[in-house]
């Protein structure tokens, strides 16, 4: 279909339209505090010139990676075990359901109390924000395995461990990857919030600092734009992982 | 023509001329229908039989107006088919009933142009006709496969269409239910006398139900032969004539009648 080839033109045109409207709204406003697209670009250039862009992006990514990986390494095996044993799920589910709605940010005083102000507190917050969703994803993934797969495994004489390795893990993989992707997005959102409060580098810090130390709203919005783009890239990266052939068997829709 | 022969008045309901259908995807074109020609008389029960994937569902979709043929024309009552129309209702394999509506809600779905009183009485009539009395307020999730199929037929009939287009409607049912449903369908058809086009891959089903059977070839498909089933209803499925006709169709499709 001829569509395919010009598939990028219209979305970009739409973004361009929004940028124009934004610029227009800013130039018409009486306060000249909120920056337009050009000023934002200028802000980004500024950051690059001072070598801050790379430094801050790296700092934020670093915290996300640590918190996310730690959460995954702990939550997934734990969640798979809990999902596998009915009684464990009965025991822990209510507790998880109570912890889950507590915003990671509500943990900030506790985090600072335990880890002081710094990277560790931020990583802890990210860890928390990823842990519960991943735990629930793993539990849910196990519960959704069709009983026929497990029965077939047992029918062929697999031991309990064999069923776990050769049926359970492959069967849950697609759902886990989707869960990881969504949770990575959450981690990225939380890192920004955590940095606004508990550290002194990173994109979240940039946003707070730029405002506090001189009302540099161009840097604020520049920071927001960069956050958005990186978040998008992370998401797309995970999606291509989901798309790889060996995982494809599960996908009927997003 | 012998003297005294009465000419049967055959009013043509549907006329399909030189139907071609080619699907193009990613630059590759797949011809599915290749010069299909046939007529359907008013009030007739026509079955279209063919192997899976031969294009019979495509043909039926074209008749229903959901697809436009790449070549040729389909005319119903002399009018060219341009799109879906409540005068010819499609019946799917029970997956077509709306799960968020009750039995009454489903049957009444197409009746939005009627007054409330008319709607209520018509819905009640068709609930009785398909044998779903007592299940008026039930949701499809609570019904068996056979009941859902009856519901779908009732929904289709409620708008009094001229034509019913059935696409392997009994395919998802077990074989016992299928036999029962065939009888039900014939019973209903005798009451309503719509024109019916019924697509199936089950040859026995076709010979049991139809006035005429159109046998389709494999892809790219056309109509190999139209067989007239001249056995009066109720048909004995062990009678020699039945077996003769059935075996004839099997041969048309290149299949032996011994396993």
């Amino acid at each position: 279909m001829p569509h395919r080839r010009i598939g990028w033109v219209r979305p970009i045109a739409f973004v361009a339209l929004l940028l124009v409207l934004w610029q227009f709204a800013v130039s018409r406003s009486s306060t000249h505090l909120l920056p337009g697209p050009w000023e934002t670009l200028g802000g980004i250039a500024d950051l690059v010139r001072h070598g801050l862009l790379l430094k801050y992006v790296t700092a934020s990514l670093f915290r996300v990676t640590w918190g996310f990986v730690l959460a995954a390494v702990l939550a997934i095996p734990l969640g798979l075990s809990i999902g596998w044993h009915r009684r464990a799920e009965m025991a822990f589910n209510p507790l998880i359901q109570i912890f889950r709605p507590i915003s990671p940010l509500a943990w900030i005083p506790i985090a600072i109390l335990w880890f002081g102000v710094g990277d560790l507190a931020a990583v802890f917050l990210i860890f928390l924000s990823c842990f519960f969703p991943l735990l629930l994803t793993a539990i849910n993934a196990v519960q959704r395995i069709p009983a026929v797969y497990v029965n077939a495994g047992r029918n062929f004489g697999l031991s309990e461990a064999g069923v776990v390795w050769r049926v359970l893990y492959p069967a849950v993989l697609p759902q886990l990857i989707t869960g990881l992707r969504i949770t990575l997005g959450v981690a990225w959102i939380v890192v920004v919030a955590a940095e606004m409060i508990a550290v002194n580098s990173g994109l979240g810090f940039l946003i707070v600092d730029a405002r506090n130390a001189g009302n540099r709203y161009d840097l604020v919005v520049a920071g927001m734009a960069i956050i958005g783009v990186i978040g998008l890239l992370l998401d797309q990266g995970m999606r291509s992982l989901e798309g790889s052939k060996t995982l494809r068997w599960d996908y009927s829709e997003d | 023509m012998l003297p005294g022969t009465v000419m049967k008045q055959v009013e043509t309901k549907l006329s399909a001329q030189h139907i071609f259908m080619t699907f193009t995807r990613d630059g590759k074109s797949t011809p599915v229908l290749n010069d299909v020609n046939f007529d359907v008389a008013r009030g007739e029960f026509l079955c279209i039989v063919g192997p899976s994937g031969c294009g019979k569902s495509t043909l039926l979709s074209a008749i229903g107006g959901f697809l436009t043929p790449t070549g040729g024309e389909i005319r119903i009552d002399g009018e060219a088919v341009r799109g879906p129309d409540p005068r010819r209702i499609f019946v799917f394999q029970e997956r077509g009933v709306f799960p968020w509506l009750t039995v009454e809600g489903n049957i009444g779905f197409g009746l939005f142009k009627l007054s409330k009183a008319e709607r209520v009485s018509r819905v009640a009539h068709y609930i009785r006709m398909v044998g779903l009395v007592g299940f008026e307020k039930a949701y499809p999730a609570e019904l068996s496969g056979g009941m859902k199929q009856r519901l779908e037929v009732a929904r289709a009939l409620a708008v009094n269409p001229d034509m019913l287009l059935l696409d392997e409607p009994f395919g998802a049912l077990d074989s016992i239910t299928r036999l029962i449903m065939r009888g039900e369908l014939l019973r209903i058809w005798r009451e309503e006398r719509n024109t019916v086009i019924f697509v199936t891959h089950d040859i026995d089903e076709a010979v049991q139900l139809a006035d005429r059977v159109a046998v389709m070839s494999g892809r790219p498909a056309n109509i190999r032969k139209i067989v007239e089933i001249d056995i009066p209803h109720p048909r004995d499925i062990s009678s020699p004539r039945y077996l003769e006709l059935r075996n004839g169709i099997l041969e048309q499709l290149g299949l032996a009648h011994q396993i």
Partner: protein, 260 residues
């Protein structure tokens, strides 16, 4: 899943209680063993909750937080559902708009705070705006997805019966997509609750989020901090459970076979 015997009915209550008791015991003893002067024991938290209830503070703050969430969430639903349905209905429009949404979505509502304060000042509108922002994306996306996932058969049947496009949208597409839309709304409510806490920590001076920060800042009252956290958890859970109740309606129950 595991081959152990099927659990009995009473076990549904037994095991969570065991786990909760174990947690409380562990908590209590870690406080005692580490001889921490700051971190509260379970008992201290309970007393803290009582204190807040007694002073009436907790009820006022719960009311404030709930009010903000409800306002922001409803605004997000009112804007998001029609927008999502439209985008889902016209896939070409969606193709154009979607990349923009995907870029805006990862920008934490927290990052919007300076801009929000600039636009709305410090007051009620800022947290409501932030909540609105955080809830609107999941709602729009689940509506788009819900519409896209309506089986073609239903649309076909609708067209077959002679429905016009607006009728098709209202009588077939919307009811068919409703289960998925409800899931999106429930997720959005959960996110709204989380963001509310964050927004209150920064931009206002009442509410549960504010209570968390304030208890620490004015006097290191960690017992109140944890008390506030527990309250946040319980109410958030209640909101989620309440929403799950909506799935019981038979006109949507069909869409929830697996316990979404």
């Amino acid at each position: 899943m595991s081959a152990l015997a099927q659990p009995r009915k009473w076990e549904q209550y037994f095991w969570p209680l065991v786990a909760a008791a174990a947690l409380l015991v562990l908590w209590n003893y870690s406080v005692v063993w580490t001889k921490t002067k700051v971190f509260p024991s379970p008992l201290a938290v309970e007393r803290g909750i009582a204190e807040l209830a007694h002073k009436g503070v907790i009820w006022a703050y719960i009311g404030d937080s709930l009010r903000r969430v409800v306002l922001g969430f409803c605004a997000a639903a009112v804007v998001g559902i029609p927008l999502g349905l439209t985008l889902g209905w016209y896939p070409r429009v969606n193709q154009v708009v979607n990349p923009t949404l995907q870029i805006l979505r990862p920008i934490s509502p927290i990052a919007w705070i300076p801009v929000a304060i600039l636009m709305f000042g410090v007051g009620e509108l800022t947290p409501v705006f932030l909540i609105f922002l955080s809830a609107v994306f999941p709602i729009v996306l689940s509506c788009v997805s819900g519409v896209a996932n309506v089986p073609a058969i239903y649309r076909r049947a609708g067209r077959n019966f002679g429905l016009t496009a607006p009728q098709l949208l209202a009588r077939v597409v919307f009811p068919a997509a409703l289960p998925q839309i409800l899931v999106g709304l429930r997720i959005a409510l959960g996110i709204a609750w989380l963001v509310m806490v964050a927004a209150e920590m920064i931009a206002v001076d009442s509410g549960l989020g504010y209570l968390v920060i304030d208890s620490r800042n004015s006097g290191k009252r960690y017992d109140l901090v944890v008390a506030a956290m527990v309250t946040i958890g319980l109410i958030g859970l209640a909101l989620d459970l309440g929403f799950r109740r909506l799935r019981e309606f038979r006109s949507v129950r069909w869409g929830f076979r697996d316990g979404a």
